[in-house]
């Protein structure tokens, strides 16, 4: 037989107590009925100020909605006020005339707003003046929001926490706000005068007027509020009043039923007010204290649940340390424990009124017993734990208020490091050991690493090892040759690597490793860079080995976040035809492509294609690859050019199509995005492309190189101004080939161009200073001639598993980052 448990109050304490009881298997012990004066589930009252300000959604503040009670077997009498307790009959009577019997009773009636004696605020029979509001419940909040819509100036009575929250919230509705505070400084419960003064300045800077030592005597106006009268006789005009002068425990019900009441319902360490009657939350007074913040309420709820269910018969509540942290009217405030020092207390204060920052701490016998932070609360996490848990305090008291860190970030000077300073933690290598290795003849970073094993664990100390080796080599800084290697697995810079490849006619990645890598060892991180280089060098003879490719290159599509692929068909110059559009539309429907989107490069992107559908998609499109996935020539963006545009001076569309037709799919160290604009208005954004062409007066064309507008933004440099579209094609090809041969793996033109300098590029490419122009032109022509649409593989997969749905077993080579 279950006992009958009645809980009067469905606020944060009452509902939490029920949750804690249920968590202890209380559903089997108790048949629970909860009375709530408000017709809702229970919500987080702290967030009401957010709702008032419109920053918080009403639905988002509910902790347990109405269905929760039924799901947990709890009877909720929402919106029904309990009117009396008959302790002799062990039942409660409610406003609806019902009587509910109990075996255990929990009173959790919380607080009610304190309304000072203000003439005209409230009529005993009629209730509050229609322009006067309290701020306690969700209904109060709704009423204020509604009233604020057609009123202009609100006086908030009370400059404590709640009053300031109300002020800021109503200001968000466009009202002029004046805070009337009876005490000499704001938030005098939590702050000392100096902190209160700083808070006042911050509040005023937000446009909220503050009147201190201002007691409100009367509301002016009968049907509509016209103002308030202060005790000094001064009148302040306003058309709305909010009374936020604090709260008092709601003990009416308890007192009427003969329970012991002081300031709140008096309870012992088991929250017991009388036999089988308990009180919890803001309405309870324990050891002379009443709590008004959430944490103590929840501690009480836990103890009461332990006690009432018998989960922990020894459970006792011994009081709480009170700390609050809130954004008060837009200003961060954190406060805990005592406000002011007493006796021999140490009092540490930091004040910076100009920035609205104030910090103080009260230390008693080496322990933190109080602290206040205004404006900057970043240290509240440390302070509140020091306050709660007696964490040892820093000797340098300034560290209470500021996290000064360890001064990290400053570069380590190898000369300053002690000889026994550990450089490589993984392998326990000290600076002295590294220096010794250099002294013993290891003259490169790699050699020192091999000898000492420094950097051979997690690898994170490599740069420091490099600096120390440089220092130990005595100014004759050893340059690590590996820095200049094109890929990490082959000890050659790009020109030497290309020379060696050409000389030995190495046409596959594995052949390069066999011939040029130390011990012929293959290096996974080097494969993609080598494959790209070899395809560039041997357009016709390159031997493709598919494990050297990134997934995008293996399936010729761009892998997406969810493992599907995006397919971008080639639309040269961004131009298409009705027939192509129809085919694209048909494909999108047939394969249920979730998203069809126009790209920044003027293409149509079919997103969300499954890997196994790729060959079918390509076949049905009947369009070549748009290369939107590769380290290669991507797109030429164009404007509408001279035929249709009133401003156009050159046929940019035709030239763009010509460029794309010529260089489509050309591989390189990184992607290449191009554009052609028909006039200097530059609608195709030519200035921020790898190669950008702009028509200028007189039938001439400007060629810009090295531009970018992605994560990195750079305006391209003017390489040359030429006289004909043919000359544009020639110079573009020459530039691209030079870039392909000389750029580092993954080095975009925006890095490559400034690295070499535009003057040098102009000299080589335009003036042919090195006599290589003809060779570059021939090389790029050979690559162009060898171009083949990769989507033709769709009908004839390169491997059995190329388009299998699961990801391959072999570990994918990563695109290394530079």
């Amino acid at each position: 037989m279950r006992q009958r448990l009645v809980v009067v109050g469905n606020g944060m304490a009452g509902a939490r107590t029920v949750e804690e009881i249920l968590r202890r298997g209380g559903a089997e012990q108790f048949e629970t009925t909860v009375f709530g004066a408000e017709p809702y589930g229970n919500y987080n009252r702290i967030l009401l100020s957010g709702v008032l300000a419109g920053a918080e959604d009403e639905a988002g503040i509910f902790l347990n909605g109405l269905p929760w009670y039924a799901e947990n077997g709890v009877t909720l009498r929402a919106g029904i006020r309990v009117t009396s307790i008959d302790r002799a009959a062990r039942q409660v009577r409610a406003a609806d005339g019902s009587a509910t019997g109990y075996d255990k009773l929990i009173i959790a009636t919380g607080s009610r707003p304190f309304v000072p004696d203000i003439a005209g605020a409230r009529e005993p029979r009629r209730g509050f003046h229609q322009g006067v509001f309290c701020f306690r419940t969700i209904d109060d909040t709704r009423r204020m929001v509604r009233y604020a819509r057609d009123h202009e100036h609100v006086a908030v009575v009370g400059g404590g926490l709640l009053g300031l929250e109300a002020a800021r919230g109503l200001q968000a509705h466009g009202l002029r706000v004046t805070v009337l505070h009876a005490a000499g400084h704001l938030m005098n419960q939590q702050l000392d005068a100096q902190a209160g003064g700083i808070l006042r300045r911050s509040v005023e800077q937000l446009g909220i007027a503050v009147e201190l030592n201002a007691r409100t005597a009367a509301i002016l106006g009968t049907d509509a509020v016209t103002g308030v009268r202060l005790t000094g006789g001064r009148d302040l005009p306003c058309d709305m009043v909010v009374i936020a002068a604090g709260v008092r425990p709601d003990v009416e019900l308890a007192a009427a039923s003969g329970l012991p009441v002081g300031c709140g319902v008096l309870v012992d360490d088991q929250l017991r007010a009388a036999a089988d009657v308990y009180a919890v939350g803001e309405c309870a007074e324990h050891r002379g204290r009443v709590y008004g913040v959430v944490a103590p309420l929840w501690e009480q709820a836990r103890v009461l649940a332990d006690h009432i269910t018998g989960a922990d018969p020894a459970a006792a509540y011994t009081g709480s340390r009170v700390a609050t942290k809130l954004k008060v009217a837009g200003v961060d405030v954190s406060s805990m424990g005592v406000v002011a020092p007493a006796g021999d207390d140490e009092f540490v204060v930091y004040a910076e009124p100009g920035r609205g920052v104030y910090k103080s701490a009260v230390i008693r016998a080496g322990r933190l017993v109080g602290a206040t932070l205004v404006g900057d609360v970043t240290r509240s996490a440390f302070l509140v734990q020091a306050f709660d848990r007696d964490v040892p305090l820093p000797a340098d008291r300034i560290d209470l208020f500021f996290d000064r860190g360890d001064g990290g970030g400053a570069a380590l000077d190898p000369a300053q490091l002690a000889d026994d300073a550990q450089i490589c933690n993984c392998n326990g290598v000290s600076k002295g050991t590294l220096a010794q290795a250099v002294g013993d003849g290891a003259n490169t970073v790699t050699a020192v690493m091999e000898r000492t094993r420094a950097g051979k664990g997690c690898g994170s100390c490599k740069s420091l090892v490099g600096e120390i080796v440089g220092w130990a080599a005595g100014g004759a800084a050893t340059v690590d040759p590996s820095d200049s290697w094109y890929v990490p697995g082959i000890p050659l810079a790009k020109p030497e690597l290309m020379a060696a490849i050409r000389e030995r006619r190495l046409t596959s990645v594995s052949a390069v490793f066999a011939a040029l890598a130390p011990d012929g060892a293959e290096d996974a991180k080097s494969k993609m860079g080598l494959a790209s280089l070899l395809r560039m060098m041997w357009p016709n003879d390159y031997v493709d080995e598919r494990d050297a490719r990134f997934i995008n290159d293996r399936v010729h599509a761009n892998i997406q976040r969810d493992g599907t692929f995006s397919v971008v068909p080639q639309l040269k110059g961004g131009c298409t035809t009705p027939a192509e559009l129809r085919r694209i539309a048909d494909v999108a429907e047939k394969y249920q492509v979730p998203l069809v989107k126009l790209t920044g490069g003027q293409r149509i992107d079919l997103l969300g294609v499954r890997k196994e559908d790729l060959p079918g998609v390509w076949a049905d499109l009947g369009l070549p690859s748009g290369h939107a996935y590769a380290k290669s020539f991507r797109t030429v963006k164009t404007c509408v050019g001279a035929d249709f545009c009133r401003y156009g001076v050159g046929d940019s569309t035709a030239l763009g199509i010509a460029i794309e037709s010529r260089f489509q799919g050309l591989e390189g160290p990184a992607k290449m995005k191009l554009a052609v604009s028909g006039c200097p208005r530059n609608c195709a954004e030519s200035y921020v492309k790898d190669v950008g062409v702009v028509a200028v007066d007189g039938g001439r064309w400007e060629i810009y190189v090295g531009g970018a507008a992605g994560a990195h933004v750079r305006q391209g440099d003017l390489l040359a101004t030429v006289d004909s579209p043919d000359a544009v094609l020639t110079l573009t090809g020459r530039f691209l080939q030079f870039y392909r041969e000389n750029a580092n793996w993954l080095e975009r033109t925006y890095a490559f161009v400034p690295r070499l300098g535009i003057e040098r590029l102009r000299a080589v490419l335009v003036d042919d200073s090195d006599g290589m122009a003809a060779r570059l032109d021939a090389a790029v022509a050979e690559s162009v001639a060898a171009y083949r649409d990769p989507w033709l593989e769709g009908g004839r997969p390169a491997t059995d598993g190329q388009f299998r749905p699961s990801l391959p077993l072999i570990d994918l080579p990563l695109v290394p980052a530079r």
Partner: protein, 712 residues
């Protein structure tokens, strides 16, 4: 003639690819330059792993007590026949007098799959006892319990380790790979270099934390509140993946209701992590295109470790991560075969293939593979600490066989465990050295080392690897498969056992077929050809499964489970008498209970067991760097050299657990268990500290034998 054998490092779960080179001189170790988990890197432990092969302390013959029945009499060399005979007699005698469950086995997470499997089979088929568990209970059980419930499958990382480098955001909770799996840091470093943002949660500013974008430094034992706080912010900031939650999960509403009450300033007060840092962290996770959430022992070794793992799984599910590219939740397994060791039946409640011992279908399948009647299989037994706690007590185990574990050092409340071991009728231990536990035994068996045996290990990614034999064990040393087979033979059950690793593996694969950890399609030749195979791999034509959950989870309905979990105070919060928090962990140059690494001079030179404490805490107790200090908890005392450093929280003392004797930190730890997983609360208990007076100091700290104050 020199010979180079590719195999794997004997230590942690990363199982770095190495070669053992055997020639005219001592064997040496080198890194395989391109093995996918270590990419040519090795830590100090790996480089020196071969130093143990010819170590003078190595056991080379069985040892028995000079006076049988008196464990205070010296251990003397004996023949295998004599040693096996004593063990078999003890087993038979005890089972005749006290029943089958009076004999128990205790295994280890460092054993090969074959040994773990055969030990489980030995307990169920040869001993027919329910009393078997292993030290992995002290490592992975919380995360495993949570993953099984949430995902239906427990594979530490359900994705390849290399995904760490691909993820745009990574959250590591209570893990320090920079010191525990150093070569794995390459993936973290690569990710950071590519612009990823990493968040590390640790009460200490470890090298891992210092390398991260953001370090959150919570009070030990509050990781769950932190998880719920992050979820609260994820909800408020609109980072939820509603489509994913609707399509791939169940139970979110209950979790949302719990998260509602973890608002930032409440979480800040519980955890000590500033609200701004919480917001930064969720911003990093919530805005990334791909994100990984990883937990490790710091989050899991608590009396609420399972709930804490659920907290982070909830967060991962709410953000829509598991099953997405370069995204998901994983736990970083610790011991060398911590993954495979928890799959194949040395756990109290488990049969091979991660099957449940209580499941009639699982019992029938495995019994058929073993050729026995399912009714012969015992019921699930007690978890590790419960088993150890009841040794020698009425109804508890009276004869114990320990293989590959050193509970005298590694178990919580270790001196109590030592007393319980001393209460046994008979203890047999198989190890390579005379460990603290072996020193207590009636019979000690010498066993082969990593480079002397064939087998398989399953690494932290669920990749099944080949451990290859590079040289023969010393004369007189057997491997554990041979030991178990010989012992089974003496118990009259020899026909069920075989000592050939490849045959054992093939049988394991059959036994696992159809289970969650399905190895049916894996074979030695395949592992060698493919450099490892990811389970599940249900058939020879199956490619293995590098990434789990891409289509569905392992639950009956294919959806992942949200599980509502609430923060609780640690089992033993600090108080006036024990005012600080003790947390334990690892240092780079030692491994587990130190049986191996403490014997490598290059790793121990000039080091003493050291406890870290903050300068502000040290000042309160008048402690200077290098002082000898005593740590005291309700279980006992231990002494350490003080390292005063501001990398640890001022309310927390950190001490590593690699030492025994006077520096046994597990003499201090709390045996409060996680009710769901049986995991002890290693990572948080209340502690007092004091500086030792000069007259109390006998330097250096003795770590070789139990504290002399400990009466036998």
């Amino acid at each position: 003639m020199a010979r180079s054998t590719p195999t794997h490092c004997p230590y942690c779960s990363l199982q770095c690819g190495i070669t053992v080179d055997v020639g005219a001189h001592r064997p040496t170790v080198d890194a395989q330059p391109d093995f996918p988990t270590n990419l040519g890197g090795l830590c100090a432990k790996g480089w020196t792993a071969a130093d143990l092969l010819d170590h003078p302390d190595r056991l080379r013959t069985p040892l028995v007590r000079a006076d049988p029945g008196d464990r205070r009499s010296p251990l003397r060399p004996a023949s295998w026949a004599e040693a096996l005979g004593r063990v078999a007699a003890a087993i038979t005698g005890s089972q005749d007098a006290h029943g089958r469950d009076s004999v128990g086995c205790f295994g280890g997470g460092g054993l090969t799959n074959e040994k773990a499997y055969l030990l489980g089979k030995f307990a169920r088929v040869a001993l027919r006892t329910s009393a078997i568990d292993y030290n992995g209970r002290f490592c992975m059980s919380s995360a495993a319990t949570a993953a099984n419930r949430a995902f239906g499958i427990d594979r530490g990382l359900p994705f390849p380790l290399a995904d760490v480098a691909r993820a745009e955001a990574v959250l590591v909770v209570g893990g320090n790979p920079a010191e525990t799996l150093p070569p794995a840091m390459r993936f973290f470093t690569d990710g950071l270099a590519a612009g990823a943002r990493h968040v590390v949660v640790d009460p200490r500013a470890t090298p891992t934390a210092r390398a991260a974008t953001l370090h959150l430094q919570p009070t030990p034992g509050t990781d769950l509140a932190l998880a719920n706080g992050l979820l609260h912010l994820a909800i408020r900031h609109g980072y939820l993946d509603a489509g994913y939650i609707a399509a791939r999960t169940t139970g979110f509403e209950a979790v949302r209701a719990v998260a509602n009450s973890y608002w930032p300033d409440r979480v800040e007060r519980i955890t000590g992590v500033p609200e701004t840092a919480l917001r930064q962290a969720i911003g990093i996770l919530g805005t990334a295109g791909s994100a990984l959430i990883l937990t490790a022992r710091g989050a899991e070794q608590h009396s609420n470790g399972t709930d804490t793992a659920h907290g982070y799984i909830n967060l991962a599910l709410a953000l829509g991560l598991p099953g997405r590219p370069a995204s998901g939740y994983g736990t970083i397994t610790g011991q060398g075969n911590g993954q495979g060791g928890r799959e194949h039946g040395q756990k109290a409640d488990q049969l091979p293939g991660y099957r449940k011992l209580a499941d009639p279908v699982a019992r029938a399948h495995v019994a058929a593979v073993w050729g026995i009647d399912p009714a012969e299989l015992p019921a699930p037994g007690p978890s590790a600490y419960e088993l150890l706690d009841r040794l020698g007590t009425p109804g508890g185990v009276r004869v114990l066989l320990v293989i590959g574990s050193n509970p005298v050092v590694s178990a919580p409340n270790a001196r109590h465990v030592l007393r319980r071991l001393r209460g046994l009728d008979f203890l047999a231990v198989s190890d390579i050295f005379r460990s603290e536990t072996a020193a207590e035994a009636d019979v000690v068996f010498p066993t082969a080392q990593w480079a002397e045996e064939d087998g398989t290990m399953t690494n932290l990614e669920g990749r099944v690897l080949r451990r290859r034999r590079a040289l023969r064990p010393p004369d007189g040393v057997w491997d554990d498969l041979t030991l178990l087979t010989a012992l089974a033979d003496r118990l009259g059950r020899g026909k069920y056992f075989c000592a050939d690793p490849e045959q054992v593996f093939d049988e394991l694969c059959r036994a696992s077929a159809g289970g969650p950890a399905d190895y049916a399609g894996i074979s030695y030749p395949r592992i060698e050809a493919e450099r490892g195979v990811f389970w599940p791999c249900p058939g020879p034509g199956h490619p293995g499964t590098p990434r789990l959950f891409t289509e569905a989870f392992g639950t009956p309905d294919g959806r992942a489970r949200f599980v509502p979990v609430e923060h609780r105070e640690p089992a033993e919060p600090p108080d006036g008498e024990y005012p600080h928090v003790l947390t334990t962990g690892r240092v780079l140059r030692q491994y587990q209970s130190g049986t191996q690494t403490r014997r490598v001079p290059a790793l121990t030179e000039g080091t003493e067991p050291t406890a870290e404490l903050h300068p502000d805490l040290a000042r309160r107790h008048g402690i200077g760097g290098g002082d000898l200090i005593e740590l005291r908890t309700r279980r006992g005392t231990a002494r350490f050299r003080a390292a005063v450093t501001d990398t640890v929280r001022p309310d927390t003392i950190f001490a590593p657990f690699h030492w025994g004797g006077q520096a046994s930190v597990n003499a201090l730890t709390s045996p409060a268990l996680d009710p769901k997983s049986g995991m002890p609360a290693f990572k948080a208990c209340a502690v007092a500290v004091r500086r030792l007076r000069t007259d109390e100091v006998d330097s250096p700290i003795r770590t070789d034998e139990p504290d002399p104050s400990e009466e036998r």
